[in-house]
């Protein structure tokens, strides 16, 4: 098997590996580097608001701005910890308007 594979499936060259790695890392970095400045604040405020109703963790939220075709999208992904809903609506401290 190994012999035939060596014959018919040429090994990827290191340059090909470099190109693929670069494409992946740059796709990721472009998205985060070109994100507008308000995203971290938005993320924090969303976390505070949603956190009043359901239990979520600090890193259970992902906010990304994207574009596909002609439309821009704001994608918000929030993970709820064990699907727990807080009882009795918003907790007292979170009622203050300042977030």
């Amino acid at each position: 098997m190994g012999f035939f594979r060596a014959l018919f499936q040429p090994k990827r060259t290191s340059a090909q590996v470099a190109k693929e790695r670069l494409k992946i890392v740059l796709a990721h970095e472009r998205a985060s580097n070109r994100a507008p400045d308000f995203l971290p604040t938005l993320q924090k405020e969303l976390l505070a608001v949603v956190g009043r109703y359901v239990e979520i963790s600090e890193d259970g939220i992902r906010v990304t701005l994207g574009a596909s075709g002609g439309t821009s999208t704001l994608e918000i992904n929030i993970e709820i910890e064990g699907g727990k809903v807080k009882k009795g609506g918003p907790s007292g401290s979170a009622l203050s308007p300042a977030v």
């Binding site: 060259t13 340059a15 670069l22 890392v25 740059l26 970095e29 580097n33």
Partner: protein
Amino acid sequence: MAKVIVVTSGKGGVGKTTTSAAFAAGLALRGHKTVVIDFDVGLRNLDLVMGCERRVVFDFINVINGDANLNQALIKDKRHDNLFIFPTSQTRDKNALKREGVERVMEELKQQFEYIICDSPAGIEHGAITALYFADSAIIVTNPEVSSVRDSDRIIGILASKSRRAERNEPAVDVHLLLTRYDPVRVAKGEMLAVDDVKEILSIPLLGVIPESESVLRASNTGTPVVFDEESPAGRAYLDAVARFLGEQREMRFVTPQRRSFFRALFGRV
């Protein structure tokens, strides 16, 4: 109308100063009055590469601070009347490059020169941002190597967001890719990213490919911009890049392995 060109890369050691020297000399050879400015405050090296290190009296920071006027600081190149060098200071004060001061000096330079080449320091700190801030065009010096390509991508993003043109919503800085230290033999073996790979990843137009060449070190050893070496493949590739920058169509040379004749292989230098 004078044009400001920044030579930048993000990563260090890829050939920014070599390129700045070669490009400025190339533009001068084509008849354009050109000045090349060293923005690497504290790590002055353009003077050495240009071979005028013993003629530095006043520098960029002196002019910004009003301790000297522009014409006292500008060094006229001994090889070409159109070429001037504007050295930087060896000060350790990182914030010596004040934007208002730089702007005033740039405006003054624009009255005298057709092309102003800004040799950027490595990194994305104050010096590098100041070097690219006033640019109309940018030459992104990139080696066919992963870390250089990644840093180039980063600096292209910064040009699009932090330059004066970006801040003022003016037409974007026009960016050009210059691939340096290219080794066609290693590319053919699959050991080095090919020019098309880098072009595809960075998706900016290609200005030129400079082959890895012994003549580049020879040029910096002697303080001569490599374009003055007529035998040098790198020098010729730089002159091609300058011609393309000026709007000429020229075929890319030195991108495929050269066949060396028997006698050259025996006796020839690069």
